[in-house]
């Protein structure tokens, strides 16, 4: 009998009966009996090749970070499944998660440290020893420090180990210029709006109490295409209870097919819709007056503000029917407070995004959802001690999905480096507050203003497939004195690096404990299933070895990562063996609802209340209540470029993963059917896309569809790779990033609004 772990028994309704059936299959139920050889089909299967080893990890195939059980046989990873004890995966995984095995086994992986031998961008390297590469980096970092100060080196990072680089190492070294694409190019408007309104960020997991939620509205959230595992599970359960689903999207997305109300809104007009929803809630008396009275300030200003924002007013702006607007919000209100708009994830759209997100939260507040069962709960971070180290030279500023909020919220002092220079991204000059805006650190590399960024350590971030205007980014990379890239695969930006350090995947390395602030705060173990292949190393090892070489050995006072983890786990009365015995996860007590906070207000604003009217914004000369501001229209012959996800791929990271590429081998440009007829483009045609500035990407397949408005086209993000090292993904599909030569800076959060680009169908490819 093969040893298949019984973690996989979820949803087995009848186990003993199956086992009994095996012996007595012949002749049962009138069926033809199984032939004699039936006992040994799939005799070469992996699970028959040796003992199955079980280890615990956290999925790194997207930032959602689901707890996993990894099965390996004889040093080869074979299968991953969700860890049933993990509050995020609950024993399940999405396609990307299931593709983690294939990601680790991609033959295109970086295999050895390399030093550049050709020009930047040529991708010519020679392989070197780790000691040589690390000594060289340390030497160049010290040169920059002596000449221009620690602040002149920027740290960019994303994926599981990014905290070593944009957190620990950057703070110890003394650079406030540490950034993650997960902030200013994804969630920072969402979290800054939440800080302004409630005094806390949304956090890594949007705290909807899905189990008891009865109605949800999704504004540009594409559940199912955006395959965040827990959210798909929670949505499915709501839908299976016949819960109410409102979807606001210019596109008939997958989740729109499951909606009760689909509002095919004109792109960029969401704030008008939200103001009209508030108008209906207030004028029809559908809002929770007692709740607002007890927990909110500024209601009278809000009431006056939305007085004239009628559904009729919004209908003309949003290209919707007034009745649709009225009916959809009434459908939500009928279930209040068990009703909410999901904050969403990627919200950097048009540059006015913090204001739009404030409008989302004001609707949720009027529904009385915060701190209520079935509404939106309060997150709590798990307690766990840190490994002692000397004081950091600079406070954290990276932000991102799970990091602490930057200390410049509420307009406190800005993070400054040892030589006194504050962040180079323009905070307070061009935008109000928020974690370091990664895209704003490109310009200092080019102009030297406000001071030069001369070095860049880039961990797991494909610069040329994430930051808008990749041609500008290439120019910036050409200017650098030092560019170090740490990654798993030869992504586009690797060809521009001076020194390339290949990393082990999360399945091949220990990683710091994963901690999640939620209603059941928890800590998850990340341990290796197998040894790292080739000459690749874990990120923690690279950070420690480099840190030691640049005089930061005091920040790495542990022999190896196991000692580091044991010290941390001891602070919660556990150990590596202890957390393994608990199934890889330690769960603590949360304080999710209002009644858990009778000692003090759960709202951490200056007033201790939900600030419907924001004095902070008024003081900064910004709108204290969200206003609808029209955005530019596409030029004649151009369509607004919308972008989103495929459920099988993450960012620009997985298009080359063999099994995921096999299932979804390209992206396609969605074009409205009537529009396609009018311009004579056929379904399946291969075309090039050209944007308003002449940037071209493709060839890409046209998907002619009824599922999108005529004024917009849609691309799944991350395609159009042009790295020759990516043997499957190279040259496939169109790159949305390449067509985003422009972005609109959010004056509050520093977010880069990217839906301000337009494309036309340039030609048959």
């Amino acid at each position: 009998m093969p040893k298949v772990p019984l973690e996989i028994t979820r949803r087995t309704l009848l186990k003993s009966g199956v086992a009994a059936g095996v012996a007595g299959a012949v002749g049962t139920n009138g069926m033809r009996g199984a032939p004699a050889f039936a006992a040994d089909i799939r005799e070469d299967a992996w699970y028959r090749q040796g003992e199955i080893k079980i280890t615990y990890s956290v999925c790194d195939m997207c930032p959602w970070s689901c707890g996993m059980i990894v099965q390996s046989v004889d040093g080869v990873i074979r299968k991953v499944d969700g860890n049933p004890k993990d509050p995020k995966s609950r024993g399940m995984l999405c396609a990307r998660g299931q593709g983690a095995v294939s990601f680790s086994q991609d033959p295109d992986r970086l295999r050895s440290p390399m030093v550049r031998t050709g020009e930047r961008g040529e991708g010519r390297f020679r392989e070197v020893e780790w000691d040589f590469a690390l000594d060289l980096i340390a030497q160049e970092m010290n040169k920059i420090k002596d000449r221009a100060g620690q602040e002149a080196i920027a740290f960019f990072g994303h994926t599981s180990g990014d905290h070593w680089w944009i957190g620990h190492l950057a703070q110890a070294w003394g650079s406030p210029n540490a950034a993650s694409p997960a902030s200013a190019m994804c969630i920072s408007p969402r979290d800054e709006a939440s800080l302004l309104t409630f005094g806390f960020p949304v956090g890594g997991r949007e705290p909807l109490d899905w189990e008891r939620l009865e109605a949800v509205a999704l504004i540009g959230s594409h559940i199912g295409e955006d395959a965040r595992n827990t959210v798909m599970q929670d949505f499915a359960n709501l839908h299976a209870r016949a819960g109410t689903v409102v979807v606001v999207d210019p596109r008939f997305s997958t989740v729109a097919t499951k909606s009760d109300h689909w509002l095919p809104i004109k792109p960029g007009t969401d704030t008008a819709l939200l103001l009209a929803w508030m108008h209906v809630l207030i004028t029809e008396g559908l809002y929770d007056a007692d709740y607002i009275d007890r927990w909110a300030t500024g209601f009278q200003q809000l009431e006056a503000h939305v007085q004239d924002k009628t559904p009729g007013w919004a209908a003309g702006i949003c290209d919707l029917e007034a009745d649709q607007i009225r009916d959809s919000v009434r459908a939500l209100a009928a279930h209040a407070p068990r009703a909410a708009i999901m904050p969403g994830r990627h919200v950097t759209w048009y540059g006015n995004d913090t204001q739009r997100m404030r409008a989302v939260y004001l609707v949720n507040a009027l529904l009385g959802a915060y701190g209520r069962e079935g509404g939106i709960f309060f997150n709590r971070a798990p307690y766990i001690g840190d490994v002692p180290h000397p004081p950091y030279a600079v406070a954290g500023s990276a932000g991102g999905c799970s990091a602490e909020p930057a200390d410049d919220g509420e307009r406190g002092p800005l993070a400054a480096g040892p030589t006194g220079k504050v962040r180079a991204d323009g905070v307070r000059e061009t935008f109000l507050q928020g974690p370091t805006a990664m895209q704003e650190l490109i310009e200092p590399m080019l102009t030297g203003q406000p001071y030069p960024i001369e070095g860049l350590i880039c961990y797991g971030t494909n610069l040329l497939k994430s930051v808008p205007d990749p041609e500008r980014t290439k120019e910036a990379l050409r200017n650098l004195e030092l560019f170090v890239a740490i990654d798993v695969l030869p992504m586009e930006h690797i060809a521009w690096a001076d020194i390339v350090l290949p990393e082990a995947t999360v399945l091949e390395r220990y990683e710091d404990l994963y901690t999640m602030a939620t209603d059941t705060p928890y800590i998850h173990l990340r341990e290796p299933a197998v040894e790292p292949p080739y000459d690749v190393k874990p990120g923690w090892w690279i950070a420690k070895e480099l840190g030691t070489r640049i005089g930061l050995d005091g920040f790495f006072r542990w022999e190896d990562i196991e000692e580091y983890l044991e010290i941390r786990l001891r602070s919660v009365g556990s150990s590596l063996d202890g957390i393994r015995a608990e199934g890889g996860v330690l769960i603590q007590q949360g304080r999710p609802f209002l009644e858990d906070h009778e000692d003090s207000s759960p709202f951490l604003t200056g007033s201790g209340k939900i600030e419907l009217y924001s004095q902070t914004l008024a003081d900064a000369g910004l709108d204290p209540l969200p206003e609808y501001e029209p955005i530019d229209e596409p030029p004649d012959g151009f369509y607004r470029l919308l972008y989103g996800r495929q459920p099988t791929h993450t960012f620009a990271r997985t298009q080359n993963t063999p099994v995921l590429h096999d299932v979804t081998p390209e992206n396609a440009v969605w074009l409205n059917a009537e529009e396609a007829r009018s311009i004579g483009v056929a379904d399946g045609a291969q075309v090039m896309l050209e944007n308003q500035d002449g940037a071209i990407s493709g060839p890409v397949t046209v998907k002619v569809t009824e599922r999108i408005r005529r004024d917009a086209v849609f691309l799944a993000h991350g395609w159009g790779h042009d790295s020759e090292g990516l043997s499957r993904a190279n040259g496939v599909g169109a790159s949305d990033t390449k067509l985003q030569t422009s972005y609109a800076l959010d004056p509050i959060s520093g977010g880069a609004g990217m839906r301000v680009n337009y494309v036309r169908i340039a030609s048959e490819a």
Partner: protein
Amino acid sequence: MSSSFLLDLTACIGCDGCTVACKTGNELPQDVSYIRISERVSGTFPNLVGSIDNHRCLHCADAACVNVCPTGALFQEDGLTRLNASACSGCQYCVQACPFDVPVMANGVATKCDGCRDVVRAGGTPWCVTTCPSNALMFGERADIAAEAHARATTMRAKYPNGQVYGESQAGGLGVLLVLPDDPEQLGLPRDPDIPRVTEAWQDFAQPIGLGAIGVSVLGAGVAAVIARRNHMNEMRALEEAGAGAEGNDDEVTP
């Protein structure tokens, strides 16, 4: 004793988690998949209706593939159809006969879902069911699965007035009971799939004495009849779809 899958198409959100779990767990080669997800949308903007297709072996009790298989590589066990690839001769009769377009060829032999036979026999759950984040899949005793399917269809009639259970009668009863959001015809499923009788009669008689010359010739005739009937079914389906298409556009695509 009889096992069944539940496949709830009102719940499936098309994430392909099942597809990749299956491909990885079963070590399927490139370009081979036991599951294919696509979206089906009809109507014109903005009046649209959409659903997910989750195409996979439906494990017919009266299985065309088993009926036409000349070597016994395809067989039935525990209410599901199994495939022993090492016994497959590569004749492709099953590929031609299946009314649901399921078996495919890989490395010269037929392949298809075997219900994760080994995993289930070891006390586990099929890979696809384990990972499904939208709770669209279950696996268990048929009576329990049937009860669950009906309960779900009843609840979902609030959203899908034509919601119904599919597979209790088709092809002698399917080992995958589907919860559909609409009538089967609207979702590309035959209300009454065509299953060969001629070859079944032949096979029941001829198989015990092996593949004699007479048997093969009879088999040939039987398969020809099956394929002719299947082609006829396809034509009928195409005609039906053309009729439906007059009211709206069919837009079936991989997400």
